[in-house]
């Protein structure tokens, strides 16, 4: 496989409430930031992730093109998924060998709707959605199946929020407190906060990666896998798709300094930690993770960006990023980011 690296990453100062900006207005500054950082105004390929249901109108990605100023016309595609999956599509496109750069972005404003109910609409419309099982309720089913230790989960939230307070892009959330349940066994603070925001990443291949960054964050391996949709067909206490993706991406082939995991409910952290078989000394979500800022449709891409940023600035040599899609971690994407180009052994294939 061709050496492809993250060479730039930008994200908004995420907001816990509607600031009056449209999705396109939220996105525009981060696009400008990665353009400035790389000096590139055009990219060989552009791919984005967003969701119409957050805005409640079709074609959220159309207005994003206006923010981009896609002129002259660009080679571009869009996934109705978290933008981490758009990054995967761009990585694949760079493997063709005819282009050297790609722009990836994602954005979402979950403040304008009721995310918990909106997410119900991704369930099987005939047999599951009519049950009214909302996002927090199905996450609670998974938390109950896992039966996590309460003190451990509280500590995950405390650590994530503290790290988030130190991260200028994340929300300022207090230490967790209170004993009431949102949906048992989930307490309100176990749930990622409603967040608006956007993020952008630039990928570069070959010589261009070295030209654009002193220490490019090379994608050593990247893969994603999905599981059955029906919750009754899955062992909800495990994430075999995350484990499969981690094996395909080669997570276990070296030390992991940092892991940025797409943890939208506190119990998902121990589940993912086990599935990815992360070493004891790996630092998890130093950015605060989605429990400190969760701009839906960008949050997975931000995991890749945060992991890459630690390679780019020399704080880590090998990092793991994870993104998820669908109810109860149905689909999982795992990437390994490294300071050394993987070309000698070849990036592990998806």
């Amino acid at each position: 496989m061709r050496d492809v690296a993250v060479v730039a990453f930008a994200q908004t100062a995420h907001s816990g409430h509607d600031t009056g900006l449209t999705e396109a207005e939220t996105l525009h500054p981060v696009i400008e930031e990665v353009r400035r950082a790389t000096g590139l105004s055009r990219f060989g390929f552009t791919c984005s992730g967003s969701c119409d249901y957050l805005a409640g109108a079709p074609f959220s990605f159309v207005s994003a093109l206006d923010a981009l100023g896609a002129w002259p016309p660009i080679s571009e595609s869009h996934v109705e998924m978290d933008a981490a999956f758009a990054l995967y599509e761009a990585w694949v496109r760079l493997q063709h060998g005819d282009i050297d750069s790609a722009l990836v972005y994602g954005f979402g404003k979950s403040s304008t709707g009721d995310l918990r109910e909106v997410m119900t609409l991704q369930l099987d419309p005939y047999y599951l959605a009519p049950l009214g099982l909302d996002q927090v309720s199905y996450a609670a089913l998974q938390a109950a199946a896992l039966g996590g230790d309460r003190a451990e989960l509280d500590e995950i939230v405390r650590r994530s929020r503290a790290d988030g307070r130190a991260n200028p892009h994340a929300l300022d959330l207090p230490d967790p407190s209170g004993t009431e349940y949102e949906v048992e066994p989930l307490r309100p603070y176990d749930i990622a906060p409603i967040t608006d925001g956007a993020a952008a990443v630039v990928l570069a291949a070959g010589d261009l990666a070295r030209e654009l960054a002193e220490t490019p964050a090379y994608i050593g391996g990247i893969a994603h896998r999905i599981e059955p949709h029906y919750l009754g067909m899955r062992d909800l206490s495990r994430s075999p798709s995350a484990a499969d993706a981690a094996r395909a991406a080669g997570v276990g082939k070296g030390p992991v300094d940092v892991a940025e995991l797409h943890v939208q409910f506190s119990h998902e952290e121990p589940m993912l930690r086990a599935a990815l078989d992360l070493p004891e000394d790996t630092v998890i979500n130093p950015s605060g993770g989605p429990l400190a800022a969760n701009p839906v449709m960008a949050a997975g891409l931000i995991r890749l960006g945060e992991a890459a940023r630690r390679i780019l600035d020399g704080r880590a040599r090998r990092a793991v990023a994870h993104a998820t899609s669908g109810p109860c971690l149905q689909q999982n994407l795992v990437a390994v980011l490294e300071s050394a180009p993987p070309s000698e052994e070849g990036a592990r294939r998806g």
Partner: protein
């Protein structure tokens, strides 16, 4: 373009107004199983699944690929959901092909669908964000002014649209999967139908269909059966609201065609391409795209239509399947164009086969005529 890639299987459902006998999952599975059967494969032979469809509000299911994973045998594999407006069916094929061209997979299942009877497309297209422009007109109301501008510029006579409507529906009578089947259709019948959006009459617009289309793509070493080789693949997008944007013959369409022709070595599309399946949801888009795609000089596309050049027995048949005018499960309509192009060069198009077709163009567009996806397939290995 990377590694060689071929279409080795095509599956379609019979397009119709309402498929009340199947769920969305049943619909996509029907197309997928037919495509696998055509390739002589099963779900176990597939490495990755790519799903495409137009806005989720068309059915009221958000990101339905999560729910469709089970029906498409995707568990344990990577699954991707593409959405690029009306061009999405074409883009989905290109995203699937990219996985093979990038050397990541050997066999990819691509499925696109729409079950329009679950909701109302014109409503879903007409909602808008606060403080955003609302057209409240659906697709026909949006495109009619562009057609009127084309007629003004080109001086095309008023009856050209009706000719396309008749030609495509006559072709549909030869396609067992086509939705609209109107025996005896002629110009007088089209011209007798109500005016919906001047100059688009009822029979000059596409239907709302339920349906799914699937293709199986393979790397060179994984080819089974009869391959249609991809010789060129390209996407282009431009902003909706750019001042001065040429909306009648968009630059993104011209650039996309130029890219795909360059890859495939096409220098004169009318001569080098044997058959084209082009996204024509409103009759007048045939002459407009004839020009945008370089089959005719500017303002002269309508002359090819009028002379019968695009008919099944013309020198450059367009939409022998009956096209979008005859079957329109929106999210699948682009993939149907790409799949029909493959069927033609595989010699498997049945009654609507263009004899000796060796090179075919598949085309899709979407949004405000701003998203384009195209491929060129051939029975020759590139």
């Amino acid at each position: 373009m990377g590694e060689r890639c071929a279409v080795i299987g095509v599956g379609q459902t019979r397009y119709t107004t309402k498929r009340t006998d199947v769920s969305m999952a049943g619909l996509v599975r029907e197309a997928a199983l037919r495509a696998l059967d055509d390739a002589g494969l099963t779900f176990a032979d597939i490495d990755a699944v790519v799903v495409g469809k137009a806005p989720d509000m068309f059915e009221g299911v958000m990101m339905p690929e999560a729910y469709l994973a089970d029906a498409l045998g995707a568990a344990g594999k990577p699954m991707t959901r593409v959405h690029t407006a009306g061009s999405v069916g074409g883009s989905t094929a290109l995203v699937g092909a990219s996985l093979i061209q990038g050397g990541v997979h050997d066999r990819v299942l691509v499925v696109a669908f729409e079950k329009q009877s679950e909701s109302n497309a014109t409503w879903a297209l007409s909602t808008h964000l606060p403080f955003g422009a609302s057209l409240v007109v659906g697709a026909g109301g949006y495109f009619a002014p562009h057609i009127r501008e084309y007629m003004r510029r080109s001086g095309a006579p008023d009856h050209i649209g009706a000719l396309v409507a008749v030609k495509d529906r006559r072709n549909a009578l030869k396609n067992p999967y086509a939705h609209l089947r109107i025996p005896g259709i002629d110009r007088a019948m089209v011209e007798s139908t109500p005016m919906l959006w001047e100059p688009i009459r009822y029979l000059e617009t596409c239907p709302s269909s339920d349906g799914a289309c699937a293709i199986v793509l393979a790397s060179e070493k994984a080819v089974t059966g009869t391959p249609a080789w991809i010789h060129g693949a390209a996407m282009r997008s431009e902003p909706l609201t750019r001042a001065g944007r040429e909306t009648v013959s968009p630059q993104a369409g011209k650039d996309c065609a130029a890219d795909v022709y360059r890859q495939a070595g096409v220098t004169d599309p009318r001569r080098d391409i044997d058959v084209a399946e082009v996204y024509v949801p409103f009759s007048w888009y045939e002459p407009m795209w004839l020009e945008n795609l370089g089959f005719a000089p500017e303002n002269e596309g309508w002359k090819l239509t009028e002379a019968g050049c695009t008919a099944l027995d013309g020198d450059i048949p367009w939409n022998p399947s009956g096209g979008v005018l005859s079957s329109n499960p929106i999210g699948a309509s682009g993939l149907i164009r790409f799949a029909e192009a493959a069927l033609q060069v595989r010699g498997m198009a049945g009654e609507h086969q263009v004899e000796g077709a060796a090179t075919a163009l598949g085309h899709a567009y979407g949004g405000g005529a701003q998203f384009f996806a195209m491929w060129i397939v051939s029975n020759r290995k590139p």
